[in-house]
């Protein structure tokens, strides 16, 4: 009897703990979304739930109308879409090559890719700046996109290679007997099976580019190439922070990554954890 009530207490404890975790992880999202929908004066009234005048999209209109938000949003979108497309394509080819062909120096190349993760980005940016300056690419989409490609590619290739490693080569062999070449096999046979791996890589590249602050802060020199992360930082650095619009701008900055994540969620989780559990 006491064993049973003990068990009940333990189960209750587990639920309580889980609720704590849920609050810790989700509360910031809920709070920023809720705050972004309140009239600005209500934010400073010291009340959690009192909302005279109801909820509103006013902050969103103000965010979009002011402070170059539209321009920054378009810059960010353009840069991260090009980055994502290029990284995904190159990682697809490179990852397939490293997974399927027994190339000389293969292990060294993989080592080099992984060790690129170990370089402090704050050190990388110094030579990057010199290169971009030398090629007159400072303050250009090209300069920023090239930087983001180079940043996203090594880990992207590693992710995709890991996924291809998990796809049996018997499919390749069957297709080869049917007379398909390597490229044909990749796109017609392996790609459909490895689509989750491709999705993970694309999402990773998008995240790297969309969220980057460091490299844009140095390579961008004017509002024509500035991205949302820089915009948010400028917003936050203002002497009189306008919390209404900045909260709305934050939600708009987070939204695209969450929407993409929602679509690709199952694959991303699988792709990210597969590398750590195969051992």
């Amino acid at each position: 009897m006491s064993g049973k009530s003990n068990e009940k207490i333990i189960t209750l404890g587990k639920y309580l703990l889980m609720v704590c975790y849920a609050i810790f992880i989700l509360a910031p999202f809920i709070w920023i979304l809720y705050s972004s929908l309140r009239w600005e004066p209500n934010l400073f009234a010291g009340e959690f739930l009192a909302n005279p005048g109801g909820l509103t999209l006013n902050n969103y209109f103000r965010a979009i109308a002011g402070a170059n938000f539209g321009e920054y949003f378009l810059n960010t979108l353009t840069i991260s879409f090009i980055t994502t497309a290029v990284v995904t394509l190159l990682a697809l080819l490179g990852g397939y090559s490293l997974s399927r062909f027994n190339l000389r120096f293969k292990n060294q190349i993989i080592m080099a890719m992984l060790s690129s993760q170990m370089f402090p980005h704050v050190l990388l940016i110094i030579p990057f700046f010199a290169v971009m300056s030398g090629f007159k690419l400072l303050d250009s989409y090209t300069g920023i996109v090239l930087t983001h490609i180079v940043l996203g590619l090594p880990f992207g290739i590693w992710l995709i290679k890991g996924y291809f490693d998990g796809v049996s080569t018997s499919l390749d062999d069957a297709a080869r007997i049917d007379g398909l070449g390597s490229v044909g096999i990749l796109f017609r046979v392996v790609l459909p099976v490895a689509a989750p791996g491709v999705a993970v890589t694309a999402f990773y590249a998008f995240m790297v580019s969309w969220g980057d602050y460091l490299f844009v802060s140095i390579i961008s020199q004017s509002s024509s190439t500035r991205t949302l992360t820089i915009g948010l930082d400028n917003f936050l650095g203002a002497t009189q922070i306008q919390w209404g619009p900045i909260n709305a701008a934050t939600v708009l900055t987070v939204l695209p990554t969450i929407v993409l994540f929602a679509f690709l969620q199952k694959w991303i989780v699988k792709g990210l954890t597969s590398g750590a559990t195969k051992g």
Binding site: L26, L103, S115, L124, Y213, L228, F235, T253, V269
Partner: protein
């Protein structure tokens, strides 16, 4: 009988030989395709690894400033800058707050990774319990990880704002108004909040990785232990933990690297302040290079970071072994 056998082995040898030839030409042809597929990637690696490493090291022995950087990578660079030997390194070691900042970087990595691991492991175990009503939680758990750092910083700034932040409002509601403070501007709390942001962002990654590890433990190991009358703790200690060894190591070493390398969480939230109490190596490099215009000394500090990273990565590659 014996003659027949000889004949067989003779023909099979020819067969093996000819298929060997066929295979060889096939692989040679395949290999060229393989290299072609890899071709666009190789310059990227040269740009991202060899060149910056070399240039970073060269810079660290010069008195370069931003002007020297703007001339690009040609020979002109060497006309502008002077080589000053180990001066930058000596300056770092003797004056300035190098040791304090380095120690803080280690403290940040140590505390954040430890908290993330313990909390992530507990969450993984809870997820593995399959509590009713919480099935959806696995699907949203990675959300903090996908949020851009700049947005996370705004969210935490807003929640901890001095007068109308939700944290202070909650403290007032439960009668603890003497604890309310300007959290990010506080000497005592700025660093802990930065650790909390790291935990919020990365702990779910640990939880999912370890959860995936838990799900792959064969159930019969637990059943066998139950037959032997093992307690819950014994099962955890002798079955769960050993089985999680590999994913634990990978996730810990990856985050040691990411946390040590991370620049924007601290730079965007406190900028290293108040009065340097949250300054770490990464933010110091950025400040030296772009705000104080000491490129050479910044590069020297960056090279020291790189060396520390290399020790970490050596550990990591040894762990992962050849199977990368």
């Amino acid at each position: 009988m014996s003659g027949n056998k000889k004949k067989d082995s003779f023909f099979s040898r020819i067969n093996i030989f000819s298929s060997f030839l066929q295979k060889r030409t096939l692989t040679e042809k395949k290999k060229i395709t393989g290299w072609l597929m890899l071709l666009p990637v190789i310059p990227a690696f040269l740009i991202v690894i060899i060149f910056p490493a070399l240039m970073g090291i060269i810079n660290s022995f010069t008195d370069a400033d931003i002007v020297a950087m703007t001339v690009g990578i040609g020979a002109e660079f060497f006309d502008i800058v002077d080589f000053i030997g180990f001066s930058n390194y000596m300056d770092l070691f003797t004056d300035g707050d190098f040791w304090e900042v380095t120690l803080r970087s280690f403290a940040l990595v140590g505390i954040a990774v430890m908290l993330q691991y313990v909390l992530g492991l507990i969450l993984a175990l809870l997820l593995d319990e399959g509590l009713k009503g919480f099935g959806w939680f696995k699907n949203v758990i990675m959300l903090p990880w996908v949020v851009p750092v700049a947005s996370m910083v705004v969210i935490f700034n807003w929640m901890t704002a001095p007068n109308y932040g939700v944290v202070n409002m909650l403290l007032e509601t439960i009668g603890l108004e003497h604890l309310t403070t300007n959290w990010f501007g506080s000497l005592a709390f700025a660093f802990p909040i930065i650790i909390i942001m790291h935990v919020w962002r990365n702990m779910p990654f640990y939880a999912l990785t370890l959860y995936a590890g838990l799900s792959s433990i064969p159930q019969n190991q637990y059943e066998a232990a139950e037959v032997d009358g093992a307690t819950a703790w014994q099962k955890f200690r002798h079955i769960t933990l050993p089985n999680l060894k590999y994913p634990s190591m990978v996730v810990i070493v990856l985050h040691v690297l990411w946390t040590f390398n991370n620049f924007d969480i601290i730079y965007l939230s406190t900028g290293g302040g108040p009065v340097g109490t949250t300054e770490v190596m990464a933010t110091e490099v950025y400040d030296m290079a772009w705000n104080l215009n000491l490129m050479g000394r910044a590069a020297a500090l960056g090279v020291i970071m790189m060396l520390i990273m290399m020790i970490f990565s050596g550990m990591y590659l040894k762990l992962v072994g050849g199977d990368v």
